[in-house]
């Protein structure tokens, strides 16, 4: 049973460029959440997708957008990259089970903006 997979593993971009990160959820999961983790900090919630719609969003600018496909995979897009966007981007998938909620995280994509 494949867990959450993310691509690419590492990415280097220049300020002002655009980037797309990809995530495939754990088999059977239908909800995908994206998190940004700066060095030395805990992950910060960006947004969550369910049934191909953005359901919840954290405190991130509109430069951050996403998409979920019918097969539940997801993309995170970041436009007009800033140096401060350099971070580990984590994708997490889940399937709601009352009183037993767990999110499964992928290995992340390390984005470096120069």
């Amino acid at each position: 049973d494949a867990g959450v997979t993310q691509s690419p593993t590492h990415l280097i971009k220049t300020r002002g460029q655009q980037v797309t990160l990809r995530c495939s959820p754990k088999s059977g999961h239908d909800t995908v959440s994206w998190y940004q983790q700066a060095l030395g900090q805990g992950p910060q919630f960006i947004f969550q997708y369910y049934e191909e719609e953005e359901r919840q969003r954290g405190n991130f600018p509109d430069r951050f957008s996403g998409h979920q496909f019918p097969n539940y995979s997801s993309e995170l897009n970041v436009n007009a990259l800033l140096l401060g966007d350099s971070a580990l981007y984590l994708c997490a998938s889940s399937l709601v089970v009352p009183s037993n909620y767990e999110q499964y995280f992928g290995p992340g994509t390390r984005l470096t903006v120069t």
């Binding site: 805990g42 919840q56 984590l90 909620y101 995280f105 992340g108």
Partner: protein
């Protein structure tokens, strides 16, 4: 406003039991207490979750007092491979976004 408070770092020798305490004074009735573990350059991994009293699995135990204002993650007989950052989260059940603090950096020494 932080929902949880936990020590920034802890050191332990191999083979010892490690207890990491988390404070969550404003926990709501429908909140669960969840702990995640994260190794460098990897995503967090679910360790254990509980609502009250004690929960035990093959990895750890979670102790929650009656007032639920704190919780303690107990790792029995730690090894070098347990060196990681441990996050305490307080969240309602369901697909709510996880709110991570800075976690506790555990260093296990030989």
């Amino acid at each position: 406003l932080a929902k949880t408070t936990q020590p920034i770092s802890m050191d332990s020798y191999e083979g010892q039991e490690v207890n990491i305490t988390c404070s969550h004074n404003n926990i709501a009735t429908n909140d669960y207490i969840t702990w995640y573990q994260q190794f460098p350059s990897q995503g967090p991994r679910f360790i254990i979750q509980g609502y009250k009293t004690k929960v035990t699995n093959e990895v750890a135990s979670l102790f929650i007092p009656a007032d639920r204002k704190s919780s303690t993650l107990s790792l029995p007989r730690v090894s070098l491979s347990d060196t990681a950052v441990y996050y305490c989260l307080v969240e309602p059940s369901g697909n709510t976004p996880l709110v991570f603090g800075k976690g506790t950096r555990l260093s296990v020494i030989a």
